[in-house]
C-alpha cells in the first residue's frame, strides 16, 4: 500500500465517521436521559431515508437540504411517539427489557409501514453530485461524502452548543448525571425526557436522510446501521456525546482499513462481531480504559 492509498483510506474513514457520529448520537442522548435502548432508531433512520427520497422525487428538493428539513419533522414525530407510548413506561435507573421490547415493537411497526408504502425494492437517490469527485493532487475525495460530512459536523456542532449553552442542555446533562439530584434542583424530568426523545429521533431522521444520499435503501435499511450505532455508543461509554465522536472515528477506521485484510463478503460481519467483542471486553467504553490506566499510574 502506498502512502497515497493510505491517505485516501484515512480520509474516507474520517468522512464516514462524521455520518456515523450523527447516526449514533441520538441513541446516546435518549439512553443517557431515559435509560432506554432505542431499537426503533433503525426504523426512524429508514423513515428519514424515505423522507429525503420523497422530497427529492416529488419536489426535486436537494437531498442535503431535505436532511436538514428532516430535523424539525422528526423532532415532532419523536415528541408525538413519546407522548403516545414511551411516557407510559415505568421510570428506571437501568435499561429495562420492557422498554427494549416496546422500542422493538415500534421498530417493527415502522418497518412494515415502510414495506406497505414503498414495497421491498431497493431505492436510491441519484443526483448529478452522486458520482462527482474532487481532486486534490493525487488524493481523490467524493464531493457528496464531503458535503454529508460537513452537514454531519454541523449537526454535531449545533447539538454541542444546545447541550452546553441552553437551559434545556443543562437539564439534559443534569439528568444524565443523576436523575434524582436533577429533580431535586428543579429539573422538569418529564418535559426534558420528551424533548430529548424528540431530539434523538430527529437525529435518527437526519442521519437516515444523509445516509440515503450515499447508499441504496429499502424498509430494512436501518438494521446494519443500528448495530454500528451500538458499537459506537458502547465504545464511547454510552452516555457521552464526545465519546460518540471518538467511537465513530474508531469504528470507521476499523471498517475502512479492514478492507485490506478481510474478504469483501465477510465485511458486514466486522461491525457485528465488534459489537459483541466491545460489549464483553470494554463495557465501559474506551474512556474506561483511559481511567483504568490513570488509576494504575
Amino acid at each position: 500500500m502506498t502512502f497515497v492509498d493510505f491517505l485516501n483510506l484515512l480520509i474516507a474513514a474520517l468522512l464516514l465517521a462524521g455520518i456515523y457520529a450523527v447516526m449514533s448520537v441520538g441513541m446516546t442522548v435518549i439512553y443517557g436521559v431515559m435509560k432506554i435502548v432505542n431499537l426503533a432508531h433503525a426504523g426512524f433512520m429508514m423513515m428519514g431515508a424515505y423522507f429525503a427520497y420523497e422530497l427529492y422525487e416529488r419536489l426535486h428538493l436537494d437531498p442535503i437540504l431535505a436532511a436538514l428539513l428532516a430535523f424539525p419533522f422528526f423532532f415532532l414525530v419523536g415528541i408525538a411517539i413519546h407522548w403516545l407510548l414511551v411516557r407510559w413506561l415505568p421510570h428506571s435507573d437501568r435499561p429495562t427489557l420492557q422498554s427494549l421490547l416496546l422500542m422493538f415493537g415500534i421498530w417493527l411497526v415502522l418497518q412494515n409501514i415502510g414495506y406497505l408504502v414503498w414495497g421491498n425494492t431497493d431505492r436510491s437517490i441519484l443526483t448529478p453530485r452522486t458520482l462527482a469527485i474532487l481532486h486534490l493532487g493525487p488524493i481523490t475525495i467524493s464531493t457528496l461524502r464531503l458535503l454529508v460530512f460537513v452537514a454531519a459536523v454541523g449537526c454535531m456542532a449545533v447539538l454541542e452548543i444546545a447541550l452546553s449553552r441552553t437551559w434545556f442542555g443543562r437539564s439534559v446533562r443534569a439528568l444524565i448525571q443523576n436523575r434524582y439530584a436533577g429533580r431535586i434542583v428543579g429539573v422538569d424530568d418529564e418535559k426534558t425526557a420528551r424533548l430529548t426523545f424528540g431530539m434523538g429521533i430527529a437525529f435518527a431522521g437526519v442521519a437516515g436522510a444523509l445516509l440515503a444520499t450515499l447508499f441504496s435503501f429499502d424498509p430494512d435499511f436501518g438494521r446494519p446501521f443500528l448495530l454500528r450505532a451500538f458499537v459506537i455508543i458502547v465504545l464511547g461509554g454510552l452516555e457521552s456525546v464526545s465519546g460518540v465522536a471518538l467511537g465513530a472515528v474508531i469504528l470507521a477506521l476499523v471498517e475502512t482499513f479492514s478492507i485490506l485484510f478481510v474478504p469483501a463478503q465477510y465485511q458486514p460481519a466486522i461491525s457485528f462481531g465488534m459489537l459483541v467483542v466491545v460489549l464483553v471486553v470494554l463495557p465501559g467504553g474506551v474512556a474506561s480504559l483511559w481511567a483504568r490506566r490513570r488509576r494504575l499510574a
Binding site: 435502548v37 428506571s92 411497526v109 465477510y266 460489549l279
Partner: protein, 342 residues
C-alpha cells in the same frame, strides 16, 4: 396456566392434569379423520413454531434473558439435519444432530455474552445472529447464499412429518413442565428475579444460564431440523434471517411470557395467523404483531394467555362474589420490568 391465584377445586385440578393428554389424544387422532393436506401442513408448521416458542420461553421467559438470536439455533438445526439427511443418515438420528450442534453453538455463544446482563445481552445476540448469517451466506459446504436442497431417499408421507412435529412439540411441553417444576427451574426463576440474590443463595447464574441456553437451543434446533426435512429446501436468508429470530421472540411474548400455555398459545395464534396472512399480506402480518407487542408491553404483560385468564376469572367472579383482585401474574411483571437485569 401460570400461578394459581385461587385455590383450584379438585375438579379444576383434574381438568388441568387431563387437558394436555386430551389435547394430545385429539391431535394424534386428527390425521385419520380425513383432513386436507393443507390443514395438516398448517398444524405441522404450528407444532414447529410451538417448539421454538417453548424453547425461547425457557431462556427468555423463565430465566429472563431476552435473546434476539434464536434464528442462529433454528438455522444451525435446519442445516445440520439437512446435511445429515442428505448423506443418507436416518432422519430421526439427524434430528439428534440438529439438537446437539445448536446446543454446542449456544455454549460457544453464551460463554462471552452471558457476561452481559439484561438489555446488553439482548443487543449482543443481535450481533451474533447477524454475523452468523453473513458467515453462512458464504460457507461452501452449505451451498452459501443460494441455499441447500435436501434429497431424502425415501417416499414422502405428510403424516410422518405431522407425527414427528407433534411428538417434538409434546416433548417440548413435557420438558418445559419438568424444568419449571424442578430445583433447576427454581434456580432459573431466582436468576430472573434478582441475579445477585440468586448468586448469594448458591445458584451460579452463569452456569445455570449456559445450561438453559443449551436446552433452549436444542429444542429450537430440532424444530429447525424437522422444518428443513419437510421443506426440503433451505437457504440462509430464510432460516437465519433476523425475521426468524423476531418470530421466535414474538410468539412467547405475545402469548404470555414465562408460562407454558402462553408460549403454546403464542405459537398456535402465530402459526394460524401467519398462514392466513403471510401469503397475501406479509407486511400486515408483522405490522399487526408489532402493534400487538406494543399493546401487550404497555397494557397486559401477561400476553394473550393472561388476557384469557382474566376473562375467565371475571366470568367466575360474577358467579362467586368473593374473588381475589390479584389478577396479573408476577411472572410477566418481573420479566418485563427487568428485575434482575441490571
Amino acid at each position: 396456566m401460570s400461578t394459581a391465584v385461587f385455590a383450584p377445586s379438585r375438579l379444576e385440578a383434574r381438568i388441568r392434569v387431563l387437558l394436555p393428554w386430551l389435547l394430545l389424544g385429539v391431535l394424534a387422532f386428527l390425521p385419520t379423520a380425513g383432513l386436507t393436506p393443507n390443514i395438516i401442513r398448517l398444524l405441522f408448521i404450528t407444532f414447529v413454531w410451538i417448539t421454538t416458542s417453548l424453547g425461547w420461553n425457557l431462556l427468555g421467559g423463565l430465566t429472563g434473558q431476552v435473546s434476539f438470536g434464536f434464528a442462529v439455533f433454528y438455522g444451525l438445526g435446519a442445516y445440520s439435519a439437512a446435511l445429515l439427511i442428505d448423506r443418507g443418515v436416518n432422519p430421526y438420528l439427524s434430528f439428534l444432530g440438529a439438537g446437539l450442534i445448536p446446543a454446542l453453538a449456544s455454549v460457544f455463544i453464551g460463554l462471552p455474552t452471558f457476561r452481559l446482563r439484561g438489555p446488553y445481552f439482548a443487543i449482543a445476540t443481535i450481533g451474533v445472529s447477524e454475523a452468523t448469517r453473513v458467515i453462512m451466506n458464504n460457507l461452501a459446504i452449505t451451498g452459501g447464499a443460494s441455499g441447500f436442497r435436501i434429497t431424502e431417499h425415501r417416499p414422502f408421507h405428510q403424516v410422518d412429518h405431522y407425527y414427528t412435529a407433534l411428538g417434538m412439540a409434546a416433548l417440548a411441553v413435557a420438558a418445559s413442565f419438568l424444568i419449571m417444576h424442578s430445583k433447576f427451574g427454581m434456580g432459573l426463576r431466582a436468576i430472573k428475579q434478582d441475579e445477585d440474590a440468586a448468586a448469594d443463595l448458591g445458584v451460579n447464574p452463569y452456569s445455570y444460564k449456559l445450561a438453559i441456553h443449551a436446552v433452549a437451543a436444542a429444542f429450537t434446533g430440532i424444530a429447525g431440523g424437522v422444518f428443513a426435512r419437510y421443506a426440503a429446501f433451505i437457504y440462509p436468508q430464510g432460516v437465519f434471517a433476523f425475521q426468524t429470530s423476531v418470530y421466535i421472540l414474538l410468539m412467547p411474548v405475545i402469548g404470555g411470557i414465562g408460562t407454558i400455555w402462553g408460549a403454546v398459545l403464542g405459537g398456535v395464534v402465530f402459526g394460524i395467523v401467519e398462514e392466513q396472512l403471510v401469503a397475501n399480506f406479509p407486511q400486515i402480518h408483522l405490522l399487526l404483531y408489532g402493534a400487538l407487542l406494543i399493546l401487550i408491553i404497555l397494557l397486559e404483560p401477561d400476553g394473550l394467555a393472561g388476557l384469557l385468564g382474566k376473562l375467565f376469572r371475571r366470568l367466575r367472579r360474577s358467579k362467586r362474589k368473593n374473588g381475589n383482585a390479584h389478577s396479573r401474574s408476577r411472572e410477566a411483571d418481573e420479566v418485563l420490568r427487568g428485575a434482575g437485569s441490571g
